[in-house]
């Protein structure tokens, strides 16, 4: 790893000062699991690394009357194990538990998980693509290897967002608390993420000098009917081919309200508003799910090797609404 200056502030204020001083030369390190790839591969060469692990204010889960607040530096394991999250917001626990591996969850943070960079193998390989400031997308070429790439909202770049907790947070209507040089700013989870059409070099809205400090989950969806599913090739330490998260308030069997999000289909986790509107007031059945699934994949454009993502997304959305039958065989 190239040498760098390491700063270990123990307050948000200090961290901000450091980030402002170093501007583009600074690199924020949370759990470090995304950072180390860039640094060890000698692709990114920050002069100053700001390690947030010493900042107490960024850690821990605070429970209040109207929901919970999770410090950005809270590890995924803490999130998964937290009794209140398990009881009321199990959707998030499920998503977080499917991320990477136990050791990574012990170190990786919720803030890092939602802010991590894409895993497009061309971009991560250091190829000078659009996302790296260049003028081409290597994955979206006649011979590009793009099995894991985007089917929706691709704009020059076809990378996808790798986060497993992001769709859960969107479904739970979470708010992200940002600390910018101008002061605190609160955005809806879905607005934290941006696609290549808006900014082809970043997956989120953080600008140099900004920090994600906490994630707030309102009690609106506490104990709602949840569904989370992640489909990956290996059963551990693998990124989602696609994942889906839904939260529904159902009375009788009628969907009163719903939030639905899919990740792995585009450069940002998608909130499927059209689907939400279409199924509201309808019964939470497979039939409704099938309709929703078809609607969800409208406008999807497959690349040479990722056409499977269309039926996959269709089926996952279907299950997120209609549920899935448990298969139990004797033996």
């Amino acid at each position: 790893m190239p040498a760098f200056e390491l700063f270990q502030p123990n307050s948000i204020a200090d961290a901000q000062k450091l980030l402002q001083q170093h501007g583009a030369d600074a690199w924020i390190m949370a759990g470090g699991l995304d950072s180390f790839d860039w640094l060890k591969d000698r692709i990114k060469r920050p002069k100053a690394v700001v390690d947030l692990s010493g900042i107490g204010e960024l850690k821990g889960v605070r429970v209040s009357g109207d929901g919970i607040e999770i410090g950005a530096m809270t590890t995924l394991t803490e999130v998964v194990k937290h009794p209140v999250i398990r009881e009321k917001y199990s959707l998030l626990a499920e998503g977080a538990e499917l991320a990477a591996s136990p050791q990574i969850r012990n170190q990786g943070t919720i803030g890092g998980n939602v802010s991590q960079d894409t895993r497009c193998w061309y971009y991560r390989g250091g190829w000078p693509c659009y996302r790296a400031g260049g003028n081409i997308c290597y994955a979206d070429t006649p011979t590009g290897r793009n099995r894991e790439h985007a089917i929706l909202h691709a704009e020059r770049c076809v990378a996808v967002n790798p986060s497993d907790s992001a769709p859960a947070l969107i479904a739970l209507d979470a708010k992200f608390v940002l600390r910018t040089p101008k002061g605190e700013r609160i955005v809806d989870a879905e607005d934290y993420f941006i696609g290549p059409d808006i900014d082809i070099t970043r997956l989120h809205i953080l600008k140099p000098g900004d920090l994600l400090t906490a994630i707030r989950i309102p009690s609106t969806w506490a104990g709602a009917r949840f569904y989370f599913e992640k489909v990956r090739d290996r059963n551990v330490w693998d990124f989602a081919l696609l994942n889906v998260a839904s939260a529904m308030h159902v009375s009788g069997n009628t969907i009163e309200s719903i939030r639905l999000s899919v990740n792995g289909a585009a450069a940002r986790p998608l909130r499927l508003r059209a689907v939400e509107n279409a199924v509201r007031g309808k019964p939470a059945t497979t039939a409704t799910g099938e309709m929703a699934g078809r609607l969800a994949v409208q406008g999807a454009v497959p690349l040479q090797f990722n056409a499977y993502k269309i039926p996959l997304m269709r089926n996952l959305v279907k299950r997120a609404i209609g549920g899935v039958e448990e298969a139990k065989w004797a033996s």
Binding site: G125, W127, N135, C137, Y138, T141, P142, R156, I194
Partner: protein, 285 residues
């Protein structure tokens, strides 16, 4: 390549080769500043140093009687082309450079559509100008050069006969048109190929049409032409709003200019306008 280094950004290709990827974005500011500088210098010059315009001979008053009050200058077609082109050009510059200076929006679609519009309009213009208009009217001729020389000598207080009145287009106008041709065509020429790199309605993408190096150079040329146009457009707008040129600007809107303005600035020999208002063969652009 050496001269390119400071004004371009380079990257390492998958084959470990150093290739340019685009111009250095600071050139955007350089162009803007250059444009600004020009108009400041020019306005100061006009305000304090410029001598009153004198032309050889006096305006032929006899003509005034026979000529219509409004002298037709630009046909509708010509004006339409000009404004469509202007619109496209502005869209192109805005969509190209705002994102680079931090204003984030979905620019690519607008950019390539505007580019297509510009390309089509220019093709129209070339055909229109070659077959329906006086193609040579916009190119400098001997008289322009002689008069230019005279003006310079007189400005420097050297003895020289006063220049003749202008033909339809003064030399400056012709030179500007030339500059626009150079920058515009290189931007369009490269832009057309760049359409192969994004999803358009025209043809299937093929980013591997050229080598990494060729592509890089193409992006650099496109960028240089782009920033060049920033300056040129600024200058153009500046002249359009200068009081002494308002008549010309208006004519690009309404199609004709005041007879007086025509008689004081233009040489009826070089820009013939038929009496009784009916337009002459050299009408239009």
């Amino acid at each position: 390549m050496g001269i390119l280094k400071p004004i371009t950004e380079w990257a390492t290709s998958p084959w470990g080769q150093n290739v340019p990827i685009h111009i250095a974005w600071f050139l955007i500011w350089v162009a803007a500043l250059a444009g600004l500088l020009f108009l400041i210098v020019h306005s100061i010059y006009v305000r304090y140093f410029a001598k009153r315009e004198e032309f050889a001979g006096s305006a032929p008053t006899t003509l005034a009687a026979v000529l219509p009050k409004q002298i037709p200058r630009h046909s509708l077609a010509a004006r339409l082309f000009h404004w469509i082109m202007a619109g496209a050009m502005f869209t192109l510059l805005v969509t190209a450079f705002l994102p680079k200076v931090g204003v984030r929006f979905d620019w690519v679609t607008y950019h390539w559509i505007a580019g297509t519009v510009l390309t089509v309009s220019i093709i129209f213009h070339i055909i229109h100008a070659s077959f329906w208009l006086d193609f040579w009217a916009i190119w400098p001729d001997k008289a322009d050069l002689v008069d230019a020389l005279r003006r310079v000598r007189r400005f420097m207080g050297r003895p020289a006969p006063p220049p003749r009145r202008f033909a339809k287009y003064p030399l400056e106008n012709k030179l500007y048109h030339g500059a626009i041709i150079a920058t515009g065509l290189s931007a369009i020429g490269t832009g057309v190929f760049m359409l192969f790199r994004v999803r358009t309605i025209f043809f299937t993408r093929n980013p591997y049409l050229f080598s990494d190096m060729t592509w890089g150079m193409m992006y650099v040329l496109h960028g240089l032409a782009g920033v060049g146009l920033i300056g040129l457009v600024m200058v153009h707008v500046y002249f359009a709003v200068r009081p002494e040129k308002l008549d010309i600007t208006k004519s690009m809107i309404f199609g004709s200019m005041r007879r007086e303005f025509y008689l004081t600035h233009y040489d009826p020999q070089r820009w013939r306008v038929e009496a009784s208002g009916s337009p002459s063969r050299s009408e239009g652009d």
